[in-house]
Symmetry: D2
Subunit: 304 residues, 4 copies
């Protein structure tokens, strides 16, 4: 069995009206997730608005999460910036601050190819002795981690697992088949809406942003899957799909990025978990009309 | 007339064998450009491998360039990072270090839309009182600055000009037509190979990475254009196109990014301007076989 | 229950050495599928090289299939050409020739939008009284049938079902949720490698090109799924995934199109079903080296 | 000098209210172009809605154009369908009907690669003894004719020239440089808005859909360019750019395809050249509000 499995949500970073990190709310976000039964925390993922935070703030965010968590769950930390040496700097800080694993994307802005991307992960792993998770998120970095890239890195031990936010489940299946003789290697999906499928293919975990809104739902789905109750898994997944529709409400007034995390934040505020739905600049936050639509979905899916 | 016009090359940042900035070589790069007759310097553009440099190194690069330049030419500084507030931090440093204008891209990784991109530029301009240049480079940031975005920012005075590396000359033409009643607004192209076209449409400058290899060529092209000698402009442009073919030599062994700037660095080393062709990690540098092909092109285009 | 369910393979069209349709081989392809237990036949799909066949040949292909089938299975016929009125012509011929349902893509080459695509299906349905299946294949037509498009057409009765070759399983799930109160509407997937997932979400059928090579495999998968044996379903799906790897052997020497259908044809020739692996011009057929690799996969997956 | 040069508009195909070709209007379209001084006619290009017309109608369109033209100008005929042998059928008909050159795209829907695309042109040229023009239109066929593809076909004599609608002027420049020693090879641009640029790089002709609305404008631009009056060329090009803005009026209500050709047809109706602005199904025609905006542009650019 891999070291890390289960529901590992990317933790939302709440902000104050003046765009500071709202640490009291952040504490509540973490406690709400742990109360919900999740199996790990992923701090500074895309859902955390990681690229909006400067290095000093990131350090505080990690330290706060580690302190609140207090050893209860493993903590993944995203070390996301465009290029290798800058990622290494973040990685060293994250390691010092207590990360159990580091989540690394391909370079971005820089237009590297697959071979250079493989080297990117190798350089980072050489520099920092913490398990690495390859984060496949072409919608943000505009390069796909190809099957051969992930498998090469996995077989040589550079990465301990992969978090797939590419929506290419066929490719993920081949990666898992290729790694089937390496039981310590793990595959997690970033999907909110086909988690049942990916678990059915043999994945070891799920990293759903939507779990910030409804941790119990994903934990329930996970437990039902472990129990082999496929019909109930599907019903819970379909309820979560209906909840996930909140992410499209603000589009196209806002971008896809703002609409998604903005909907999570708005729902969390409506549920009393955080104090504002403020998004880091220049993203737009959801307005009152959009909030009303979110309330309606929270009600119809049993959360409000 | 706009304040900034002419040939404003994005300055290459040479590295040592151990991946440090090679400041003696950097001095020679700048002196070679000034000797070549260029009209401005663009420090920390994409060609400089800007996203590979951490903030502290960027500050040193700007300060070194300002010191070497010693007021001889205007200096543009790229303040390139994924999101608004991080760009503002770079912008404040660059201003303090003596930048005459700041070059800003759309956010990246973050998936913002056109409206949020407009706000991005406004927030930066509000925070830092230096002329801003909008840098349209979809191949790196994966969003195009649409005509309406650039024109809105230009007409309200948020940006002083645009540097277009999108290769969408038709769109640039419409931007220039829309701004025709604002003679202080400038448009520059990042193209190396259709500079004659873009000047012919009324652009005010050119920002060619290849000018690091052959500043005289682009200055000659500029001067011939000012003199109205269209036939000679075309001949010089065509010679520069033949020189530009160096950027494809290392592909697909390396990525497009490495192959392009790597070719510039290799050519500059062969011409004695810099000491190595080392690229920031994880990019690959050109090998000896590729260098031989570059030598051949340098010879056939009259540089070696 | 929808009228059409189960395994409905897109039938390969074998060619002679001189690029004619090889009807004796075509008979064997159909008999092999029926022997394999499939539940329907899809003639003139993308796998049949439909866009390479002129109208007269298409008519002969349909008539031959109808005659060989002799009423044993329902027959879907692809009516695939760029624009509405040309599709209607094909549709009228296919209806006369005995098609049980017609499979229709969005327009292509023509750059229509979603609203015009909706009208496209409506015009065709108005003209020809046969059940329509919307064929979502953006890799060929370069437009996705959006959720709202498919659901609008389904709810108003213009289409009887959808065949999804877009690999966007999340979107397909939402379409099925939106149509859950319409038990006669069906959803099928064109995937070969995540059939278990799509059936698990509630899909009614599968249209795998690879079933031309191994009909028993997909029928077995289907039967195991009906029996609720999830572990065995997954094992069979994984064996089929290993078999599916034949489609990448000839790339990049050939295009993706040639490599995929070319691999099916080559495997079918090696299994004695058809006489050549000839592809319609200008596609390239697989060579002997590539055939050897296909043989190896046929052996390792138990077919040879 | 190449055999074909100058302004060669893609001729609009007017329709009646009942979606038939309106031949009396078609006659007027052709006479208006010839009166305007154009140097050739391109029948059945994308602007003609070629892929909406079945083979029999295409034959009538060619025959009508040949008869009306009566030998006054060379006639290019588009032979546009997805695959090789179907194109050859169109090509044989077009040759018999009197085409002076045939315009051929890469295959579409079919997903061929560059090597297969090269073979596509070779098979067609082998089958039909008429000069071929390679039509580079990735927005419709979703593959770019790469520099090496066009140059290979040009140097071996398979194609007589290229019509570039890819907007990649840098690539076109390299094609022209590579073919500079072949004075019979011609390059034309499909652009309406950077014609001055492309002529300045040495192109031999222009194929502007907008010339259906204003043939005099493009002929004037051509003549001014031949006379070397660069300032006047630019002024005329800029006026035509303002006129070209009609193509965006109906978007996003209609698709880009409908909005562009639909705007040409609407403007031509307002100018009295044709009787309706009907578009082939399922495209949408422009409405009265959009027509009013077109009138305003026709006035401001001196046409109404």
């Amino acid at each position: 069995m891999p070291k890390f499995t289960g529901v590992v949500p990317p933790v939302v970073t709440p902000l104050t009206e003046t765009f500071e990190v709202d640490y009291p709310s952040f504490t509540r976000v973490i406690e709400n997730l742990i109360d919900g039964g999740v199996h790990g925390l992923f701090v500074l993922g895309s859902t955390s608005e990681v690229v909006f935070h400067a290095a000093a703030e990131r350090t505080k965010i990690i330290e706060h999460a580690v302190k609140v968590n207090n050893g209860r769950l493993p903590i993944f930390v995203g070390v996301i910036d465009p290029t290798t040496d800058r990622v290494i700097e973040h990685a060293q800080i994250a390691k010092s601050a207590g990360a159990d694993a580091l989540v690394v994307t391909a370079p971005f802005y820089a237009r590297t190819n697959q071979a250079e991307t493989i080297d990117h992960f190798r350089y980072i792993r050489d520099a920092v002795d913490v398990p690495l998770v390859a984060y496949d998120i072409p919608v943000c970095v505009h390069i796909k981690l190809e099957r051969n890239t992930t498998v090469t890195l996995g077989r040589e031990g550079t990465i301990a697992g992969v978090k797939d936010s590419s929506a290419d489940d066929g490719n993920l299946r081949y990666v898992m088949l290729d790694m089937a003789d390496r039981p310590d290697f793990f595959a997690m999906t970033g999907s909110e809406i086909v988690v049942d499928n990916v678990l059915g293919m043999g994945a070891h975990g799920v990293v759903p942003g939507l779990a910030n809104v409804d941790p119990h739902g994903y934990v329930k789905l996970w437990n039902l899957f472990q129990a082999g109750d496929h019909e109930a898994v599907r019903r819970e997944q379909e309820r979560l799909c209906r909840l996930f529709e909140i992410v499209w409400i603000a589009q196209p007034r806002t971008s896809a990025g703002s609409a998604g995390v903005g909907a999570f934040k708005t729902a969390m505020r409506q549920l009393g978990i955080i104090s504002t739905n403020v998004m880091a600049r220049p993203q737009r936050m959801l307005n009152s009309e959009e909030t009303a639509k979110i309330d309606a979905i929270l009600k119809s899916t049993g959360l409000l």
